[in-house]
Symmetry: C2
Subunit: 456 residues, 2 copies
């Protein structure tokens, strides 16, 4: 056995042994607090997403085909089955492209697959906030580390929130169910064997569907593993394991790198803008210019952006025709950022994608790629009325190096959740989540999340 | 646009336009008859598989988490939801590794994902046998042709019955639902975006789970597309399309090659043995030797097999410890074939995998690989009591070049189904399936497939 093979032998079982043994008391306060931030931010995204028309296509199918009313669909007056509510909640969590993003060696919107799986199980069984947060953190470890073990995964064309999300949700579900190390490894492999999601479907309803599907796959994987359903025990490092078939480069040893000392949940990021994460630096730059000096859109002759090449390959849509497609258009994003000074939900509707003012302005946007920039850097130059305005962004807002404050996350939550569940209940949710580790029964929180639940 | 790009432009939409427009009267009689053979053979495999312990792990989870009783679980006295029964039926159809195999430029067990999807929908709505057979054939076209467009797919480590099966089931479901060309392309893409299944899990409960998952994904895809759920319209040929991310070689133009004149269902194969399809040639060879002259296992000093290298890479398990694992062991297969003169369900149980006589004999098996052989060829030499016996197989039984007769398929069906639903009902099923195109309501057939249905 070579050195590489020796270092990677049994890494899936090592990871699962570690995760199965974790207790809440092992979590550093910083990890706990990132868990609280992650739950609050994600709940807001899901509640805001609940109103998206995409859900009107999904929910009737699940109501007809799905299970008995067991688990709450957030922001809607309906319950669905234990495998169906996570699909709906995962889709609504991701549909606005507003949910958290982990960019530590991978690109994973971890919460949209993981949290719906945990909420569904926490509605079935009595679960306290400490176990909930610990399982959430375990999902991050499994999903992010498998991504780090598969460095070519994103480039390969996969939607990592669907693929890695499936096994992240499976491990989170398995941890919440209290599985031992072997069964947790089975859960992870049953999650992996359902791992799917194609970037080809970006800009369509399928993108957020993939997040929901991953959540549902995770619940199913956890429940099957609990019942003794078996699998390979080397699902990541095996000869046809995850890091070999979903990636052209395999680094299985990354699965256990700094295990126990590095908590991946502490490296999570949150989005101030409701669009692809790589658009955050150029939007920051345009808003910075606008903040420094007012620029009237009609005076603009050119918006010149300089970004990492990766940004254009993901968000190069020049003329998006729908709100979902506009979330992956750097042209649209720069235009609305200049017009509105914002890039929230209302900047990415079907209506704005077809707005003549936006269309006229986005045709003045040109993009230059620059390999020397990081993906969280950008430069913008705006020519307007004989003036040239410039701004450079070093670390986009919402990244680990430039995080959203607790206050900013709270403000984002209120803006997202208030219109759906009302200001009073939004405050109650906020209060519960900031003290989630003191909550004895997560159902208390869930009861506040359905649109039709009575106000207290 | 280069010639290659021109030839592959819009192939997904071309395929879906063709399939959406197909009528039963377009089907050649040979395709119809292969449809009847496929349904009969698969129903037997599913009914026999219904008793497998794997299902005892799956069904309680689906009964708890799943939907209202809408669709029959074959061979069991239970109904499950519209998305759950296909999962159970797909798993039981594939669990014995006894189901049909298409090897025309791909390796796809098409029926285990496709038929459970169709049966679930045919229990919800009144469906006649002609529409059922046509949708079945449409599933073959979509699944097999996408496999042909992705020549590196199997080598890449995917379990094609899970991956291609998902989009095959989606297109079959969409065709049964009468979708137009655009919505059928959406169904195909929603199926593809759920396409999963890892060879790493071969020999475990996950392998057949992947077939069931594909069936359920197909139903969901069809129902969502019917409701206007959208997707990429270039899911196969797009820049991050199926044939580019699931395969290191892309041949998107294969999707529409000889479309309309070549019916992929006519190239389906059926297994006389309950194990990996590539084991059929060496089993044939061992049984041929045994048929020519009795060979007592205790006299055997060596069983020397010569096969294509691919056979060993898939079935090289030397000491399988479970029935499921033994289905992918050339050593086990040669041993039981010599002892029993058969390789059916009872040759691949946990008990036989641990049988001392089998273990002693399989340790005498040696395998040589030979690039000059096709995967449906094999050579065997058995040394016993001073004699040397030899046999060479040109085309394994059950392949297109050496197909099972209708009588052999019927005999296999009775052996599989009789113990589960009884001889009388098995004959009724046989009669209905041989005249499936004359059946006005497929529910008449389904009513005979539940173990607890009353005998007529």
């Amino acid at each position: 056995m070579g050195n590489d093979a020796a270092r990677s032998a049994g890494v899936t079982q090592k990871l699962c042994t570690h995760l199965a043994g974790l207790r809440f008391s092992d979590m550093p306060e910083r990890a706990v607090h990132e868990g609280r931030r992650g739950v609050l931010d994600w709940l807001g995204c899901a509640l805001a997403g609940a109103a998206d028309p995409t859900l009107d296509h999904l929910l009737p199918v699940l109501e007809e085909a799905g299970g008995r009313a067991q688990a709450t669909v957030f922001g809607r007056g309906v319950k669905l089955g234990l495998l169906d509510a996570p699909l709906a909640n995962g889709q609504m969590g991701h549909v606005l492209d507003y949910d958290d993003t982990h960019m530590g060696g991978t690109v994973l919107h971890t919460s949209s697959p993981v949290l719906p799986a945990l909420f569904a199980l926490a509605e079935r069984d009595t679960v306290n906030g400490r176990d909930f947060l610990l399982a959430y953190a375990a999902g991050f470890e499994a999903g992010v580390r498998t991504g780090q073990a598969s460095p070519g995964h994103h480039k390969g064309g996969w939607h990592l929130t669907g693929t890695l999300g499936s096994l992240a949700a499976a491990v989170a579900a398995g941890k919440l169910l209290g599985l031992d190390a072997k069964r947790l490894a089975h859960a992870m492999a049953i999650g992996a064997t359902q791992a799917a999601g194609m970037q080809q479907n970006r800009g369509t309803m399928c993108k957020s569907f993939q997040a929901g599907r991953a959540a549902a796959s995770g619940v199913l994987a956890g429940l099957l593993a609990e019942r003794g359903f078996d699998s390979s025990l080397e699902i990541v490092e095996g000869t046809r394991g995850y890091c070999r078939i979903y990636s052209d480069v395999a680094r299985p040893e990354a699965l256990t790198d700094e295990l126990g000392s590095r908590w991946e949940i502490t490296r999570n990021g949150h989005k101030p803008y409701a669009c692809g994460v790589v658009l955050h630096p150029p939007i920051d730059a345009v808003i910075a210019i606008r903040s420094a000096a007012p620029v009237a859109p009609r005076d603009v002759s050119a918006i010149e952006l300089r970004v990492h090449p990766h940004v254009v390959s993901i968000t190069g849509t020049v003329e998006p025709e729908t709100g979902l497609a506009s979330k992956f258009s750097i042209y649209h994003s720069a235009a609305v950022a200049l017009i509105d000074g914002a890039a929230g939900i209302v900047q990415y509707t079907d209506q704005r994608a077809l707005d003549p003012e936006v269309i006229a302005l986005r045709r003045k946007v040109t993009v230059t790629t620059d390999e020397s920039l990081r993906t969280d850097q950008a430069h913008a130059r705006i020519r307007a009325g004989g003036h040239v305005h410039e701004a450079a962004i070093e670390h986009a807002s919402g990244t680990v190096a430039n995080p959203m404050t607790d206050g900013a996350i709270e403000a984002k939550f209120f803006a997202n959740a208030g219109p759906v569940i009302g200001a009073v209940r939004a405050q109650q949710v906020r209060d519960l989540v900031w003290k989630l580790d003191a909550l004895d029964d997560v159902r208390t929180l869930i009861a506040l999340l359905s649109r039709d639940a009575p106000l207290k």
